[in-house]
Subunit: 288 residues, 4 copies
């Protein structure tokens, strides 16, 4: 990935116009943010650069700030009823905003309208850190804010959105953590050995639907060759790992299919979800 | 229940015609079974009485035995598409044969026909010990039998059916165990105390559908006031207990809703399914 | 036990002198307590009777109360170096005050002297609810009390001592709980069955020594035929259950001898200490 | 370590006399083993080199082989009563052969004599892979061998001893695994976080004594900064890890000090022994 990215030292050395050209779209339609940040160079870390850009946003005159915030697209504009087949939905994973029912589209429209009426701005949220359900929960919680609290919340989300964009563009020291990790480990406590060859599926569990995110198999170490999720923020929401232990143990015991349901609250966290299992018992926990 | 049942000592003392009148319908349309058993009285236990009736069946001349077995109703005759609402289905519990889809009705008809063609008798199974899925599995396994093995299987099922009928009619010493029990227990291992007030649901999990059997709440001892299932055979099948732990702990931790999925294989067994739980971990096992 | 005990209704009906004769020694050398309580009859419960006796103690004129408290024997008077063999110690169980080392006898003497100098009374504690270690801890904590707090503590202990004596004498409704229970349960989670035939020992663990309290074997239900401790208060202290699982599993796995160490804090509580175990893993918890 | 070791490619290129000088003492007093192996060079892996040396031993004429085996020192010669203080014993760790009681010295002498009388050779065992107890067990098992089985056992031990010596001398590709690893991990399942600052001790548990091997504290990840044991073979035997959880939780709960006792059977294995723990429950297992 770093091959195609600029380095922080490149950025520190660029003429201002080139710097602005490189980073101008990190803040939506607002090259003035990059311009303001150019003056503070050199930055020792990517985090320091991002902090400076956010400081410029916060320090902007009210009219400019309002225009900047108001210029964000409505969340509703990306919401439409999916025409995808069930299969291609599974490939794309998750219960995203692209696969709402007519009823849900309607609900989002109502929330968007209520939000704009209350605060006079579009609802801004870093969609890549959320599932459909957690966006809805956020929508409802933030509708209850007063104006100041909600301005802070919107700016915090802008920070999260632009941090992801900046990290996609720039490599260098002090890159902030923007990705999470979900992993598992299956231990057969009958033999005291890792359980290999266990089929596992991962689903997102929404309030009204569930969607399969992936299917995989444990390796000789009882783990999966790659983490279940990595290289991107984990989406806040509820998940279910399903372990096909009856097939593994080769017998129809008390335990056959083990569903482990858990919640992810920290998109940049590491969630390790082990399973210690026999045909008659199991233990799970958030590991580290 | 014993109030309306005959006692074994009553039965031992009855004149033969009254004995036959009392037990004649235990074996479908075959008062001769009761007649044969009348001669062996007195019986020390209800189990001994039932064993004698089954011995009479096994000793019957081939023609009489064939007529007895052939006289059983076809399983298919009780199968029809349900007109029940979803609510009343939940009340009646389970994915019974009274709520098959058109496709499933068709599948049962095909299996019935194939079975009768292969063995010349109706498919006999003690329905009260099974879920829809386990009946289908039995159907397919038994279609692969040779004639002798299947005759034994059919007689074994007749033994199970009639044992249930006999126990419903007769009280006394040595009543065979015909009922199972499913129970649970929730322990909060943060406080080391039983978890009370935990909402629990129990579902039957079929291959193509799931049906809620009950909803309940744990008491001060972390148990339910009554066993989840008792007083009848447990139906062989797959079940899921769901524990609403997030509501109990009053926080959105890693663990919110805990689904425990398990298989019941012994209709007359005691299945105790405890949950040891924190907001971040849990353990379950088949207890005793 | 109730056979040799008076009943509460007997006591309620006795002439005052007989009542006093029956209960006069419950409060050491202080028949006046029983006399005071006689007037309040009839008592609906044994607890109410005991409460009335304690109220009489608390209401006594200062001189009488001081004489009553001061009349208790010094704890030190029961402390002496044991001449018991190791075997008979094990039979009698525990690290009692009858088996102190010379050093420990010395320590108790110093504490007794310091206590009497500070408060002017003997140190009173309900010995049957304590191990040697917890008595020492209590001694040190109570030496730090001010006079009022310590008088309350001494009276509370007198309440516990006399409650045990009263329950030994009187049967009837509303007997207060004065006994605890310690039990265990071993589940083999390889087979999903209770583990029977597991050899178990129970030790008291003191700061400087350990003493075996009992050795037993699990029955077919994975439990012991009798509770490990019952029918008396549990002694506050640290214990270790040892399970000989290698012998049970018949193999030298990762797990051979399992020591479970735990603390008992409530003498009248029920401590259930289950073990869920394979050759490679185990779980324990305070059950209920 | 590799800095002071020869590399395999060095060895492959050395003149024969230098090769023999380098490896002549790997097989006790038997430079002929290295001479024989010199002819088979170059070796692709250190394991292949060791295999060739062992093949030379096995192919030696009976007289030479007997002299080689007979030339090993008696195990007894290293056994003597320790004059070490308890402290320095703890530093040196374990219940080694240097700290036997007079009784144990006597037992070893008897076993040595019985072994030599039966097989005509000294008892050879790779001491670095054993505790005192497992040596005694091996001694008794091997005394029951017939001559052929015991010759194989002695040669297998020579293979283990010389493999350790060779690996200490030679670096290069294909070095055989001669070291094991013991590690732990403490997870606080109340908070779902690693438990840091937990004091841990490790003891070797012998049949008649126990010896502390180390004391350490968990770091922010709930692990120890270094593995508990690494860089050498694990000694076959019984161990106990003790976790001071009461200090960690800051309360006197049901669980205070947690002893985990386990057996190590594979000196070159990785034994990971996690603890999932609250004040009222815990789980352990052999992890990976």
């Amino acid at each position: 990935m770093s091959g195609s990215r600029l380095t922080l030292s490149d950025l520190n050395a660029l003429p201002v116009p080139a710097f602005v050209a490189a980073l101008g779209e990190v803040f939506e339609h607002s090259a003035w943010v990059a311009e303001a940040a150019a003056a503070g160079r050199p930055y020792p870390t990517v985090t320091a650069l991002h902090d400076a850009m956010m400081a410029a946003v916060r320090a902007a005159p009210p009219g400019r700030l309002a225009a900047f915030i108001g210029g964000h697209p409505e969340l509703g504009s990306r919401v439409r009823r999916s025409d995808l087949t069930a299969d291609s939905q599974a490939e794309q994973g998750g219960l995203g905003l692209d696969r709402l029912s007519a009823e849900e589209v309607e609900r989002f429209s109502r929330l968007n309208a209520a939000y704009r009426e209350r605060f006079g701005i579009p609802f801004i949220i870093c969609v890549r850190r959320h599932t459909r359900d957690s966006i809805l929960r956020q929508f409802e919680q933030r509708l209850a804010h007063d104006t100041d609290a909600e301005r802070s919340a919107a700016l915090a989300e802008i920070g999260l959105i632009t941090r992801l964009r900046l990290v996609a563009l720039v490599d260098g020291p002090g890159v902030p953590a923007t990705t999470g990790r979900l992993s598992t480990h299956v231990l057969d406590t009958v033999t005291g050995r890792p359980a290999s060859g266990v089929r596992i599926t991962l689903h997102e569990i929404g309030a009204t639907a569930r969607a399969q995110l992936l299917e995989t198999v444990t390796n000789a170490d009882g783990r999966t060759d790659a983490p279940l999720i990595a290289g991107e923020p984990l989406r806040i929401g509820t998940y279910e790992l399903t372990f096909h232990m009856g097939d593994y143990f080769g017998e129809a015991g008390f335990i056959d299919v083990v569903p482990l349901r858990f919640s992810i609250a920290e998109p940049e966290g590491h969630y390790h979800v082990p399973l210690l299992v026999t045909s008659w018992s199991y233990t799970t926990y958030r590991g580290s």
